[in-house]
Amino acid sequence: MWDSFGFEFVNYYFVPGLVLGCIYALGAIGITLTFGILRFANFAHGEIMMTGAFLTWTFLELSKLIFGFYFHPLIACIPSIFIAIAIALSVDRFFYKPFRDSPTIMIVMASFGMMLIIRSLVQVIWGPNQITFVKGIAKPNGILRDLSGSFDMMLLVPSKHVFIILGTVIIMLAFNYMLTKTRIGKAMRAVSDSPDLAKVTGIDVEQVIRATWYVGGFCAVMAGVFMAMDTQFIMSTMGFRMLLPMFAAAILGGIGRPFGAVLGGLVIGFAEELSAYPWFGNGPLLSPGYKSGVAFSILVVMLIFRPSGILKGRVF
């Protein structure tokens, strides 16, 4: 089976799809958590991601200035995670908290405004142009190539993709542990299921909300940095471009279901990449120009036919 078909399919469609899916999954976790716990669609989530990527780029440049060589993006992103979490917390404190008891639509509107404020701020600071994140052409990972080569299956996966996939798996495992084993994770699930009941049982809801921003901010920065590592450039509109696929992933998986979000992210990622595969005949199934439309279509279809998502999430 591993002929030219398998080689092309796995290396040029399946692995990119998996990588994109991992990125969407990480982003969707934050969206589904805010949706489940704070009960609103956070339009500013993509911008936190984008800010994380820009901050990481700045630290990369700083490392070059101070130490004379570029750190790995996964090291340079550590300080930006803290900054991004601080941004998310202060946005919550100053712009979302006043609306806790108002109709949901007010806070949605506020997040809609935050989306623009954060993006404009990034554009003012870093400029509107595309910035190269990591230079050079990504070479396939040698170990993986030789290993798969000995099974007659040539895998040409760049190291950056290996980092992204492994990183996502590690974050997922840690996240799983947190949600099922730790006290705060259980409290998060409780608030997500029923905020009133959680409050009655003595759970500090404000603390849970802070934890949500910690987790959401962390995952957003990781998704942003992974995205930047994958495409090798960053621009101020990348947050908005990823926002809808991430919403699609969160709704597809079921609102308030973090593992649904992961599943949804993978489905959307695969769907976007595989839509360009020549399934019938020679031409791509869908012109690559419409690639970003795939997620929107899945989103709209999902919203109409099964708004509760695959894993039976909440419908507001």
Partner: protein, 354 residues
């Protein structure tokens, strides 16, 4: 004198664009203020109107479909109707989605609409856009208009040519601004009638308490679809006028969601959602603030450039637009927190009529 005319023309263009935004805000007011539908796809619906108008009215071109060269009025009516038809299809499918979901769905639909305009190169010339869109009044001075009916009834080409040459080159600008304001006025009168009619009261009832409205035997779904279609048609008309004002449209930058969708939302919220007068007032106010902040910031940057001699101010100039967007975003947050009902809050019609 020249400077004075310059200011006058600047003011007229402010009025024109302000009027176009007022139409968009009025359309959004039908969606959001009347029926409580969170339509976040304004850019997409305006794009539908703009492209419909442009494809129908431009002269024949090899770059895109047609250029059917139809009269401007027909283009405007078609923009109005096509936007309505598309809204009807979307509305029937999406209308039962609740606020956040409808917002996400409409953003998605707007992006798909823009993707189609961007990718169907044979139809729309793709990212290179459509140019030479006729503008009301000004288009009469183009040969293809004055040499054909109905203008050819009143004089031949030479006499028209001589007539247009004798006018100052901005003769059309006051007329164009007035035409847009006329559209705003007509739409405003009609929406006021609608708001005070039983239909408008029913809309308010549905928005405030859907269950009660349903229990009272109102066809909630149908009313919401109606409000969605009417609001969107107005946006389509505004799109057609925008295409006329710009004379060149392309899918990505012309219909940038932050300038088309977001700014309109700020206008409606600041002006007062549910209040037609508030929508118009908010549109002009925010548009004037937006334009004035451009002048103000540029002047400020020049001063900085004078103080710190030799500093490269081109970078600041490039970015001042984003700073303005930031300020508009802060205005929205301020209004949302301090004046959630807007400057002109909604006034509900009294039971006996107004």
């Amino acid at each position: 004198m020249d400077a004075l005319i310059g200011y006058f023309l600047y003011f007229l263009s402010l009025l024109s664009v302000g009027g176009i935004y007022a139409l968009l805000a009025l359309g959004l007011n039908v969606n959001w203020g009347f029926a409580g539908l969170f339509n976040a796809g304004i850019a997409g619906f305006a794009a539908v109107g703009a492209y419909t108008f442009s494809l129908l009215t431009t002269a024949e071109s090899t770059f895109h479909y047609g250029g059917l060269g139809l009269p401007v009025v027909i283009g405007e009516i078609a923009a109005f109707l096509i936007a309505g038809i598309i809204a009807a299809v979307i509305g029937i499918i999406c209308i039962r989605l609740r606020a956040d979901y409808l917002a996400i769905a409409t953003i998605g639909i707007a992006e798909i609409i823009k993707l189609i305009f961007k990718n169907e190169v044979e139809l729309t010339n793709g990212p290179r856009g459509i140019s030479k869109i006729p503008r009301t009044w000004e288009h009469f001075s183009e040969a293809r208009y004055f040499s054909s009916q109905p203008l050819s009834w009143f004089g031949d080409s030479q006499s028209w040519q001589a007539f247009f040459d004798s006018l100052v080159n901005w003769w059309w600008q006051p007329l164009f601004a007035m035409t847009i304001l006329f559209f705003v006025f007509v739409v405003y009168i009609m929406l006021e009638k609608a708001r005070l009619s039983p239909w408008g009261r029913m809309m308010t009832a549905i928005r405030e308490n859907e269950v009660a409205a349903r229990a009272a035997g109102k066809n909630v779904t149908k009313r919401r679809v109606e409000a969605f279609i009417i609001g969107t048609m107005i946006m389509g008309l505004a799109g057609a006028l925008l295409a006329q004002h710009l004379r060149f449209i392309e899918p990505t930058h012309t219909f940038d969601p932050s300038k088309m969708t977001f700014l309109v939302w700020v206008m409606l919220i600041a002006g007062g959602s549910g209040n037609n007068r508030g929508a118009i007032f908010g549109a002009f106010l925010i548009w004037f603030v937006w334009s004035a902040s451009e002048l103000f910031l540029n002047g400020f940057i020049d001063i900085i450039g004078n103080i710190f001699n030799g500093m490269d101010i081109s970078m600041l100039k490039n970015r001042s637009g984003y700073l303005r967007m930031l300020l508009i975003g802060l205005v929205l947050q301020f209004v949302l927190q301090k004046y959630p009902k807007g400057i002109l809050p909604e006034r509900r019609p009294a039971a006996s009529g107004e």
